[in-house]
C-alpha cells in the first residue's frame, strides 16, 4: 500500500511537472515577426542592413526579457525585390508562419503588390524603408489601415531635394534622371510636382532601366539642355553608372537625389565620381547621441561590415527602430492580435526612444507616417562615406529632431 502511494505520488509529481512545463512553454512561446526585404541583388545593401538592424533590436529586446514575457522571433524571407516573390512571401508569412506583424519592404513596388494581404488578414505592417508616397495611403478607402511607416516618404524627400537644388544652391536648370521601376517613376512624379511649386520645369526628364550599362544618351540630353544639376531617383548600381557616365563625358554637375545615393553599391561602384552626391538622410553613421553611439558600436561589433561602414545606415537605423515601435505597441495592447496592435500603434502612450528620433505619439488613426519633413538632414558622399552635408546640421545633431505636431 505504501508502495502504491509512493508510486501515485511520483505520478502526481510527474504530472504536475508536465503541466508546469506546458505552462512554461506557452509563456515562452515566441512572438513571430515577419521580416521581408531583398537580401540579394541590386537593393540588397538596403535589405541586409535593414535585416541586421532588426536582428540587433530583437536580440536586445529578448535579452531584456522579451515582450509580454515572450521572446520575439524573426521569420526572415528574401523577396529579391520582385513583386511576385513579395506576394508569395506575404501569403506564407500570414497563413503558414502566422506572424503577429511584419516589418520590412525595401522596394515600393513590392510593398504595393504585397501589403493588401496583410490588410485583409488584419496584420500590421511596419514599412521601415520603402518610400513611395502611396504606400500608407493604399487603403485610404477602407475603414481601418494596417500599413504604417517609419521612413522619409517621397513627398518629404522630393521637396527637400528640390529645395536643396533651387533655394540653397541656386540652380535654375534641372535635369531629372529616374529609373523605370515604380520607385523611380513615382519619385519622378513627386520631383516634378515639387519643381512646379517653384515654377520651374525640368529641362530634361530621362528614364533608364535596371541593368542599363550605358547612360550616354540620358546624360548627353541633360548636358545639351544646359542642366546645372542632376536630380536622381534610382538605386545604387544604376546611380553608379550615372556617375561613371558623367566621368566619361567629362561633365561634372552636382548629383542630388533620393536617399538611395547613400547605398554602398553606389558609393563603391562610382568611386571618386560619386563624391559630392547629396541626399536626404534620416540617419548618418555618426555617434551624435548616446543611443546612436551604442547602436553603431553594437552593429559594427555584431555584423562587422567592410571598412567599419554600415552598408546602408538609414535602413539599419529604421529597421532597428521599427522593432522597438512594434514591441511598444504589443506591450501596450497586451496582445498579439493584429487589430489590437494596430490600435496601440495609433495611440502609443509611452514615447519610444529610437536611433532616428524619439517617437512621441508617432501615429494616429489618420496619420501612419512616423517621419515628418523636419527630421531628415542632408548627407553627402565624401571619401567613400556618407557625412553631414552641412556643418550646422552636424553641430546640432545631438538635439534629436522629433515629429512636428500636425498643422
Amino acid at each position: 500500500m505504501r508502495f502504491r502511494f509512493a508510486k501515485l505520488a511520483s505520478h502526481a509529481v510527474f504530472a504536475s511537472a508536465l503541466v508546469g512545463l506546458a505552462a512554461a512553454a506557452t509563456a515562452a512561446e515566441p512572438i513571430k515577426i515577419g521580416v521581408t526585404g531583398p537580401f540579394t541583388g541590386g537593393s540588397s545593401s538596403m535589405g541586409v542592413s535593414m535585416r541586421d538592424g532588426v536582428k540587433l533590436a530583437v536580440e536586445e529586446i529578448n535579452k531584456a526579457g522579451g515582450v509580454l514575457g515572450r521572446p520575439l522571433q524573426t521569420v526572415e524571407r528574401d523577396d529579391e525585390a520582385k513583386n511576385e516573390r513579395g506576394v508569395q512571401i506575404a501569403q506564407e508569412l500570414i497563413n503558414k508562419e502566422k506572424v503577429s506583424a511584419t516589418v520590412g519592404f525595401i522596394n515600393t513596388g513590392v510593398a504595393l503588390a504585397s501589403q493588401r494581404f496583410y490588410q485583409e488578414a488584419k496584420i500590421p505592417v511596419m514599412n521601415n524603408v520603402a518610400t513611395g508616397s502611396l504606400i500608407t495611403h493604399q487603403f485610404d478607402d477602407q475603414p481601418a489601415n494596417y500599413i504604417f511607416r517609419n521612413a522619409a516618404h517621397d513627398s518629404i524627400q522630393a521637396p527637400m531635394i528640390v529645395e536643396e537644388a533651387i533655394a540653397r544652391r541656386g540652380y535654375k536648370k534641372i535635369a531629372i534622371l529616374a529609373d523605370s521601376t515604380n520607385y523611380g517613376q513615382l519619385g519622378r512624379d513627386d520631383l516634378e510636382k515639387a519643381l512646379a511649386l517653384k515654377n520651374i520645369k525640368a529641362v530634361a526628364v530621362e528614364k533608364f532601366n535596371i541593368k542599363d550599362v550605358d547612360m550616354t544618351a540620358q546624360l548627353l540630353k541633360a548636358k545639351e539642355a544646359g542642366a546645372e544639376a542632376v536630380l536622381t531617383y534610382g538605386i545604387g548600381p544604376e546611380l553608379a553608372q550615372i556617375a561613371n557616365g558623367m566621368t566619361k563625358l567629362g561633365w561634372k554637375v552636382p548629383i542630388i537625389g533620393s536617399w538611395t545615393l547613400s547605398m554602398a553599391n553606389f558609393i563603391d561602384n562610382a568611386g571618386p565620381g560619386g563624391d559630392g552626391a547629396r541626399m536626404p538622410q534620416t540617419f548618418i553613421q555618426e555617434p551624435t547621441t548616446p543611443k546612436r553611439q551604442s547602436f553603431i558600436i553594437s552593429y559594427l561589433k555584431t555584423f562587422n561590415p567592410k571598412n567599419a561602414r554600415i552598408d546602408s545606415p538609414v535602413s539599419a537605423a529604421q529597421g532597428y527602430d521599427s522593432v522597438y515601435l512594434l514591441a511598444a505597441a504589443i506591450t501596450q495592447a497586451n496582445s498579439t492580435e493584429g487589430p489590437k496592435i494596430k490600435a496601440a500603434l495609433e495611440d502609443l502612450k509611452t514615447p519610444v526612444s529610437g536611433v532616428v528620433t524619439t517617437y512621441n505619439k508617432p501615429f494616429t488613426a489618420k496619420d501612419h507616417e512616423a517621419i515628418t519633413a523636419n527630421i531628415p538632414v542632408f548627407g553627402e558622399v565624401k571619401a567613400q562615406r556618407v557625412v553631414y552635408a552641412y556643418p550646422d546640421d552636424f553641430k546640432k545633431a545631438s538635439e534629436v529632431r522629433v515629429k512636428e505636431a500636425k498643422k
Binding site: 540579394t40 541583388g41 541590386g42 540588397s44 545593401s45 523605370s180 530621362e206 528614364k207 533608364f208 532601366n209 541593368k211 550599362v213 550605358d214 550616354t216 544618351a217 540620358q218 548627353l220 540630353k221 545639351e224 545604387g236 548600381p237 553608379a240 553608372q241 566621368t247 566619361k248 563625358l249 567629362g250 553599391n265 563603391d268 561602384n269 568611386g271
Partner: protein, 291 residues
C-alpha cells in the same frame, strides 16, 4: 556634330560588347547548328572568375588567359552534358532547353558563391576619358573594341590557316562528309563549344570594368547579343561586328533623339524586320536545305 560623334563612340563600344558575345553564338552554330543559350552566363562566370583572380592579386593581363582556360572547360562541360545527348538522338530542340537550364544553374551557383550584389571590377587602365575629335572615349572602351576585333581575327585566322581550323570549317559545311573523311566531328563540336565559352569568358573579363560585375550581368547582355547574332547573320563574322555596331548606335541615338524610354525598341524592330525580310541575317548566307 560633337554630340552625334559622342553617341556613335558610345554606341560602337556598346555594340562591340554585344558583338563579342554574339561571336560565341556563331562559333557553335557553325559547327553543330546549335546555340548555347547560356552564353550570357558564360560571360558572367568569366567576369566573376576574373574578379576573384584580380582580387587575389593576379595581374589583369595575366588574368585574361586564365579566364579563357576556365571558359574552355566550362564550354566543354556544357557541350558534353547539355548538347551532345541531344545531337546523338537527333533531337531538334533538346539542346535549347538544356543550354538554357545549364545557364540558369550557372547563374544560381554564381549567386551562391559570389552573392547577388553588383561589384566593381578594378579598371586596368586610367578611368579618365580621352578626347578624340571632340568627343570623349574611355581607354577601357577602346580596349574592348580592340580586344574584340583581335579575338575575332585570331579565331578567323585559326579557321582559315590551320589544319584544325579546316576541320572546324569542314564540320560546319557537312558534318557527315567530314566524319567520313576521318574528322572526329564530336571532338570538333566539343571544341567549338569550349572556344565559344572561352570567348565569352574573355569578353566578360574585358567588359566588366565598364559594366559592373554581378550574377545577373549576363541576362540582358546575352539577349541583346542574340539579337545581334540574328541581325548580322549567324554565319558571318563581319555580320556580327556590323550587327553589333548597328544595334549599339541605334540604342544610343534613339535614346538621345527620340526618348530614353524607347531606347530598346529600335533594336527589336530591327530584329523583326531582318527576320521578315532577310531571315539569314544581313550578311548571312542562305543555305538551301535538302529534304
Amino acid at each position: 556634330m560633337a554630340i552625334l560623334l559622342q553617341l556613335i563612340y558610345s554606341g560602337v563600344a556598346l555594340g562591340m560588347i554585344y558583338a563579342v558575345i554574339a561571336f560565341g553564338y556563331q562559333l557553335t552554330f557553325q559547327t553543330s547548328d546549335t546555340l548555347n543559350f547560356g552564353q550570357g552566363d558564360a560571360l558572367m562566370l568569366g567576369a566573376m572568375v576574373g574578379l576573384t583572380l584580380v582580387t587575389m592579386g593576379v595581374n589583369f593581363w595575366l588574368m585574361l588567359p586564365l579566364v579563357m582556360v576556365f571558359g574552355l572547360f566550362q564550354g566543354a562541360l556544357v557541350e558534353r552534358i547539355g548538347v551532345r545527348p541531344a545531337i546523338k538522338i537527333k533531337s531538334e530542340f533538346g539542346w535549347i532547353m538544356s543550354t538554357i537550364a545549364l545557364g540558369i544553374i550557372f547563374k544560381n551557383v554564381a549567386e551562391n558563391v559570389w552573392g547577388r550584389d553588383d561589384m566593381k571590377f578594378p579598371s586596368p587602365l586610367p578611368e579618365s576619358p580621352l578626347k578624340f575629335l571632340g568627343a570623349n572615349v574611355l581607354p577601357m572602351e577602346i580596349l574592348v573594341v580592340v580586344g574584340a576585333v583581335l579575338m575575332m581575327l585570331a579565331v578567323e585566322f585559326f579557321n582559315r590557316k590551320t589544319i584544325y581550323g579546316k576541320a572546324v570549317v569542314a564540320t560546319f559545311n557537312d558534318r557527315d562528309a567530314a566524319k567520313l573523311m576521318g574528322i572526329n566531328t564530336g571532338l570538333v563540336i566539343t571544341f567549338s563549344y569550349a572556344l565559344s565559352s572561352a570567348t565569352a569568358a574573355f569578353a566578360g573579363a574585358l567588359i566588366a570594368p565598364l559594366t559592373l560585375t554581378g550574377a545577373t550581368m549576363g541576362s540582358v547582355l546575352g539577349l541583346k547579343a542574340f539579337a545581334v547574332a540574328i541581325i548580322g547573320g549567324l554565319t558571318s563574322g563581319l555580320g556580327i561586328i556590323v550587327g553589333g555596331i548597328i544595334l549599339g548606335v541605334a540604342e544610343t541615338t534613339t535614346g538621345f533623339y527620340l526618348s530614353t524610354g524607347y531606347k530598346d525598341v529600335p533594336g527589336l524592330v530591327l530584329l523583326l524586320l531582318v527576320l521578315a525580310l532577310k531571315p539569314a541575317g544581313l550578311f548571312g548566307k542562305t543555305a538551301i536545305k535538302k529534304v
